[in-house]
């Protein structure tokens, strides 16, 4: 987006929240005017926090070195300030760093202002809690000679970290609810649980920083604490980059199939989604859902091994060509068997053309011998094959496809999977706008919900050519008639 967006483009509720938070942060920091603030320590800590946040935005470093950009990487500095400084001063420490921090999405200025305000409020609240419990005395008061009172010093520190976490979570939920118009329940759900453990670790590191800062070794020694934290954040950033690259590679595998077999554009992606819907309806747990989705996405990857000439052939296939195409489950399994994380998806890729009555290929397995994941993918594959337009015939409506699937349940498909698909369709409907290009990209997080073009289920914008007799050995239930 070229022009920068400002406060005016934000929903009214969010605007109110940002202004109120900024006012609240100002009120938290105002008592510094009364004096009694160790300005040198404030400047050092604020400078340190700003320095930590800066590399992600630095024009020279950006793009050349990978730096942690996740917000919250440097909370130990803020928590050390919470443990060392009076509440108004702790609120000030957060502001410069938050104002120069890297922000991904527009409107950047508003987001930065909000971030600064919420961090200032959270830091002030945490410092209040810490002070009330006598944390500063436990750390050795003002004098550097007194040793910290150790088992007790953990209590105010833990409470302060908890307060910091709670306030941040509450404010995050508020902005999600107002700016992105998420329902309040879903905005808060999971937010607290996810952030509790990291905040505890940050609290411990902050405490160690505060102890060393107060000690005779002075502030430089406190910096040593930051190094392991910084490295773990850096590694985490690398991890996310590598994971994104990995997903791109999987997508490339799928695209390679799509390029070869032009009849099936977007098919893999949709089968992945339908398989996931069925698996979710059957009550499988989250990790398995992901594997089943990959099974659906990669089910036809073996078509890479089928000569392009055969895949793209116009006209009836000879028995030899049909036999070559029917090798694709085995090719696919051969390709992906070395990918450890795919787990049972590998079996699903091998067996997705088996039929319940044992007349499928490659092994002619029957009933329960067919892996569960393969039975899921088989139904999803057939459903998408029927509801999408191929160059040789038009798409069928979803209702007709479901009727056909139900007719073949028992002989070709597992009735449980068909019933699962029917339930999922009645619950969520079927949207065909997903293409292979968009797969894996996280839902855009802006102020508007991602666009969802209203389109009749089953309608595909593909070119409408005159319907020809079907002749691909794809898992269409109509094959059963002839069998």
């Amino acid at each position: 987006m070229a022009e920068s967006r400002g406060l005016r483009d934000v929903p009214a509720g969010a605007r109110l929240a940002v202004v109120a938070a900024a006012a609240g942060a100002g009120a938290c920091a105002l008592p510094v005017l009364r004096g009694g603030v160790p300005w040198a320590a404030v400047a050092l800590l604020a400078g340190l926090y700003a320095l930590c946040e800066w590399p992600a935005r630095c024009p020279i470093l950006a793009g050349r070195v990978s730096v942690p950009t996740a917000s919250g990487s440097f909370f130990p500095v803020l928590l050390a300030a919470v443990f060392l400084l009076p509440p108004p001063a702790a609120a000030l420490v957060a502001v410069p760093g938050a104002l120069i921090a890297y922000v991904e999405d527009e409107p950047r200025r508003v987001r930065r202002a909000w971030r600064a305000a919420e961090l200032a409020i959270a830091a002030a609240a945490a410092a209040c809690a810490h002070q009330l419990l006598g944390g500063r005395e436990a750390l050795g008061g003002g004098s550097s000679a007194a040793a910290p009172d150790f088992p007790y010093a953990l209590v105010p520190a833990a409470v302060a970290a908890l307060v910091f976490c709670l306030v941040l979570t509450a404010l995050d939920g508020l902005i999600l609810a107002t700016a992105e118009r998420r329902p309040v329940r879903t905005a808060w759900r999971g937010l607290l649980l996810r952030s509790l453990a990291p905040h505890c670790v940050h609290g411990l590191a902050g405490l160690m920083m505060a102890v060393l800062w107060r000690s005779r070794f002075g502030p430089p020694a406190a910096l040593f604490v930051l190094l392991p934290m910084y490295i773990s954040c850096w590694v985490f950033a690398q991890y996310q980059r590598e994971r994104a690259a990995h997903q791109a590679t999987i997508r490339a595998l799928v695209q390679a199939v799509d390029i070869k077999d032009r009849y099936t554009r977007g098919h893999s992606e949709r089968v992945g989604r339908a398989s996931e819907m069925i698996a979710r309806e059957l009550g499988m747990e989250e990790g398995r859902l992901e594997v089943i989705r990959f099974a659906g996405i990669l089910h036809d990857v073996g078509k890479l091994g089928v000569p392009t000439r055969v895949l793209r052939k116009d006209g009836p296939l000879t028995p030899e060509e049909r036999a070559v195409i029917e090798l694709h489950p085995e090719y696919g399994h051969e390709m992906v068997r070395g990918i450890g994380f795919l787990g049972e998806a590998r079996g699903a890729i091998l067996h997705h053309h088996e039929r319940l009555d044992g007349s499928g290929y490659p092994y002619g397995l029957a009933g329960g011998q067919i892996p569960e994941a393969a039975r899921v993918v088989a139904v999803a594959d057939a459903f998408d094959a029927m509801t999408s337009t191929r160059s040789y015939r038009r798409a069928r409506p979803v209702a007709a496809a479901v009727t056909e699937l139900e007719r073949c349940a028992g002989a070709q498909f597992d009735p449980r999977m068909v019933a699962g698909l029917v339930r999922a369709l009645s619950r969520y409907g079927w949207h065909v706008e997903v293409t292979a290009d968009q797969a894996g990209t996280p839902a855009a997080r802006g102020n508007v919900p991602p666009p969802r073009p209203p389109r009749a289920p089953g309608a595909d914008p593909g070119p409408d050519r005159p319907a020809e007799p079907a002749r691909r050995p794809e898992p269409r239930p109509s094959d059963v008639k002839g069998a």
Partner: protein
């Protein structure tokens, strides 16, 4: 068959073993000084060793918590204001005993620490303790640097020095085992210092300083951040492994499609990696080279008909370059670093226009294609001879000679397909 460890490795193991035995014997004779501190650090090290569970093969430091605890104990001069009376030998004895204790469960399931790593741990701890304890106990450290901020920096510097020595020892051991050139190995070890090793050093320093100020409570408080670091490294390593597997299977696509011989991509990747090592590439460059070698034939997927037995080396130059460009286009879509795509694209250019990794891929690919037809050592020699004849235009002479050295060493015999 397990190769016999070379003399240098044996010497290092013997030195570490002798040091440990001497230290434990001396400590048993004289008794433990300050047993509470020794027990606390011993527990930390043992727990850190236990956290080795789930470590992957080739992880740089599978038990960072134990390393940091050991270094912290070596640099510990006082405990909450009281001088701790342990000397160098006690440090070694405590570290060895608790590491042994912590690895009992690992040894029980047959996955004990590798001897190289154990020996290095003993030597680095001994080095740090020898540098620090005598100076500290004689009071010289206090005279020179005082007890304020400078003291903290001295500790950090000492640990950096220790880490440097450890890197040199590690590179020497690797060199003795693999006969790769020493320079790049040391470079890799030094680059590795930027990762978990620097976190270990910083944590060791912080442990020593924090225990001096706050007593033994500092130990559990500071374990958590380092455990987080270890977890982050594990996840990173896991996703890298998965990524490599995916790229390998992408490379298999050409074999399954019948465009190339079974095992061709894998052989070219392994041989390219060995040649790259021989030519002194760093670990990061080797990874890029390996990915490029795995995917060098991927452009053939875009062909309507397969090349006869996939041997691009026998095709006309223009056709080779066209396939290379197609491959580069496919690789660009896969999200791997663009360096990989560049190598794949340039693999068929004359060597004077190529970057070094592309030269390696070109020569190794041609070698594998040419050696494919003939079985036995004769085929291999013939193929090398043809490469040497092509060094005027196609293949870089230095790369071909490195390839010949790698093959002569016999560390890479041709693997059967499958």
């Amino acid at each position: 068959m397990a190769p016999r460890p070379p003399a240098l490795a044996l010497a290092v193991h013997a030195l570490a073993g002798a040091l440990s035995v001497w230290a434990i014997a001396a400590t048993l004779r004289d008794g433990l000084a300050d047993p509470g501190t020794a027990a606390a650090f011993g527990t930390l090290i043992a727990v850190g060793e236990l956290a080795r569970w789930g470590a992957r093969e080739g992880e740089r430091d599978p038990a960072p918590l134990a390393s940091a605890g050991a270094l912290g104990y070596a640099l510990l001069g006082e405990n909450a204001g009281h001088a701790s009376g342990h000397g160098v030998l006690q440090v070694i004895a405590v570290v060895v005993a608790s590491a042994l204790l912590g690895s009992v469960p690992h040894v029980a399931v047959g996955r004990g620490p590798r001897p190289d790593q154990a020996a290095r741990r003993v030597l680095t701890v001994a080095f740090a303790a020898v540098c620090f304890q005598p100076l500290y106990h004689s009071g010289r450290l206090d005279d020179w640097f005082g007890r304020g901020p400078y003291f903290a920096f001295v500790l950090l510097l000492l640990l950096l020095l220790t880490a440097l020595c450890d890197a040199v020892v590690a590179a020497l051991l690797l060199r003795a085992r693999t006969r790769y050139p020493f320079g790049p190995l040391l470079g890799d070890e030094l680059r590795g210092l930027l990762g978990i090793a620097s976190a270990v050093c910083a944590t060791g320093t912080v442990i020593a300083l924090a225990v001096a100020v706050a007593g033994l409570w500092a130990l559990p408080v500071f374990c958590a951040p380092l455990l987080l670091t270890q977890l982050a490294f594990r996840r990173y390593a896991a996703v890298r492994t998965t990524y490599r597997q995916t790229i390998t299977s992408l490379a298999r696509a050409t074999e399954i499609a019948g465009y190339t011989e079974p095992g061709h991509a894998r052989r070219v990747a392994e041989l390219s990696r060995a040649v790259g090592r021989e030519l002194g590439l760093s670990e990061g460059e080797l990874t890029v080279l390996e990915y490029a070698a795995l995917m060098h034939d991927i452009g053939q997927l875009s062909l309507l008909d397969p090349v006869p037995s996939g041997a691009t080396a026998r095709l006309p130059a223009a056709e080779q370059r066209r396939i290379a460009l197609l491959g580069g286009a496919v690789v660009r879509q896969t999200g791997v670093p663009s360096d990989v795509a560049l190598i794949v694209e340039r693999q068929a250019d004359p060597y004077r226009e190529q970057p070094l990794p592309a030269r390696i891929v070109r020569a190794v690919n041609a070698y594998d294609d040419l050696a494919e037809g003939a079985e036995g050592p004769g085929g291999s020699l013939n193929a090398l001879e043809q490469l040497r004849l092509g060094t005027g235009h196609d293949y870089h002479p230095q790369v071909v000679e490195s390839l010949a050295r790698v093959l002569a060493r016999g560390c890479l015999t041709r693997v059967p397909p499958g």
